[in-house]
């Protein structure tokens, strides 16, 4: 029976954002800022349980909503960190907010990285530009459970040295030998003594245990094909590689249809896909 004229049970409104207060803002580059939020209300904070790789819908009433990856680790409870590039209306409006201001958040949405499955393995993370944001959540999470993982290598490509995000934090990790972090820039300046060129070039400098490594990739759409080719050259298994996709999104819950990728929706079936699955998605890579 499809119609019930009795009083309908109260349903939670998945479109209704929860108010969140901005508790910290850090300028990373002229284009990107790191925001920290605290959901208002104990119940909302307790209900917010996420995995690295999931995203929220950031809501600024009067302007709109934008999907943004969570960049803090799930182990850091009570706070949600978003690294946001000023790319338009909503992200621009967020950039003009101050500490203490209230915005709305919905989520967490989507499928994240398979953290439990990755345990016990080496990890190879490849990020391009802003793609470091969701991977940072994973890196922080690994950091908190560091002894559960083998070697962790991060290849991170940026346009210029000034565009490198989270540099201070990476420097700290590097000194602790927790992670092998290799940076590369497309356009070096006079201060730059690191690698120059596409992030794929960094593969020549690393050793990968093909069967014992999990890979994760996030970056601009053009990057995936080339990075995956490098991973396959290192004989990594297709189903040990994870990719995170950006698509246009209006709902985050599999209804508005905007995020279609092949026969799936990036918001509920992704944004993190196993590469084996992604190979079967038309126009995905």
């Amino acid at each position: 029976m499809t119609t019930h004229l009795s009083a309908a049970p109260i349903v939670v409104n998945p479109y209704r954002p929860s108010p969140a207060r901005i508790t910290s803002i850090i300028d990373l580059t002229p284009m990107e800022k790191l925001f920290e939020f605290r959901l208002i209300g104990d119940a909302a904070r307790e209900a917010f349980d996420f995995q690295a790789g999931q995203f929220v819908e950031l809501s600024i009433f009067g302007v709109g909503e934008a999907p943004i990856s969570i960049s803090s680790a799930p182990s850091k409870q009570g706070f949600i960190e978003l690294c946001v590039r000023n790319s338009g209306d909503v992200t621009g409006a967020l950039h003009s907010k101050k500490c203490g201001d209230i915005v709305g958040l919905r989520g967490p949405f989507g499928r994240g990285f398979p953290f439990q499955e990755m345990k016990g393995h080496d990890i190879l993370l490849v990020a391009g530009g802003l793609g470091i944001a969701p991977l940072k959540s994973l890196i922080n999470h690994i950091h908190d459970d560091r002894h559960d993982f083998g070697k962790v290598t991060i290849l991170y490509g940026s346009r210029t040295p000034a565009d490198i995000l989270f540099r201070a934090q990476f420097d700290m990790w590097r000194h602790r030998d927790d992670f092998d972090l290799i940076l590369s820039v497309d356009q070096p300046d006079e201060t730059w003594d690191g690698a120059v060129g596409l992030v794929t070039k960094l593969f020549d400098t690393i050793d990968v245990d093909p069967k014992g490594t999990y890979g994760a990739i996030c970056g601009p759409p053009v990057m995936y094909k080339y990075v995956i080719a490098e991973m396959r050259k290192k004989a990594m298994d297709a189903d040990h590689i994870y990719v995170s996709f950006e698509r246009r999104m209006k709902c985050g819950i599999g209804k508005c249809g905007h995020c279609g990728v092949g026969h799936q929706y990036a918001c509920i079936d992704g944004p993190v896909f196993n590469y084996w699955e992604a190979m079967n998605l038309q126009e995905a890579i």
Binding site: L5, G64, R85, R248, K255, G257
Partner: protein, 340 residues
Amino acid sequence: MFFRIIPKREIPELVRGLASQFHVIGPVAKDGSFVYAPLSAPAELRLDYDTTLLPAKEWFFPSSETLMRFTVADNVVIDDSVDETKRVLFGLHPCDVNSLLLMDNVFLGDNPDPYYKARRDNTLIVGVSCMPNEHCFCNAWGTDETHWGFDIFLSDIGEDYYASIRSVMGAELVDRYVAGRPITDDDTAAFQRRTAEFKAAFTNDVDTSQLPVLLDAKFDSDIWEKLGEKCLACGACSMVCPTCYCFDVHDVLEADQLTGCRVRTWDSCQFKEFAEVAHGHNFRDTRASRVKYRYYHKQWGYLSKFERVLCVGCGRCTRACKAQINPPRVVRALQTGLVD
């Protein structure tokens, strides 16, 4: 299922009775065609209609609706109430009854949509049988029959309707407002004869074999370029489609700039910006890729999730498309490799 014979002449009585408790919406004549509209008198109801321009989705998922009202300064929701108007949608054909079941999979599945749910929960469905017109091809998908998704379904057997009754509420309303009588074997025989006539009357022959395979195997076929060259990217196919559910969301400020509404409107994957993301990248930049996506999603994407195709063969897009792009033709192109 319960059955009842309801003489056609008793329908106005039933409509009058329903109108005392519900807003009754049904097919009415307008400007030479038909639309679903609120009935101001039982006589307006045209159960002999062939199709409506717009589908019934408007009554569950309006072309434009306010999701919530908010205040700007403190970013707070002041109202996100749902529409609980008691309605009866009277006179849906099997395709349209089935289209709502397909919508339900999306809007009532995981993360149920409260706006759609409230309207669905508060709307009774009375279906009515039909005869196919030249654009109908519901038989290709098996959506020419409906066995659930309605409260009452009226099958035309001449002077009477052979009524299938699915819900308690449907049974109560029939009891209350029409005399009717129980069915006999003769009635069932008439129902079977009528069904056979209906099935024999289809003129479209759509070969749906192996569509998911063909959609993938012929993903790079030049049929899509050819169809894309014709497409006007007007989105009419999505607007008139009872199973297209994509939407856009935007905020509208009141004149005082202090409060506003978050509004959702129907959208179409045929529009250029549909899959565009920040910094100008567009995952479906060409018309060819967008026409292909509409079919790929309906005939394979949705199927992979819900085991049904996202089309009920109502033929509305066939009528609406100025470029003659429609499922029978696209499916033919997939089968033969040629756009006719």
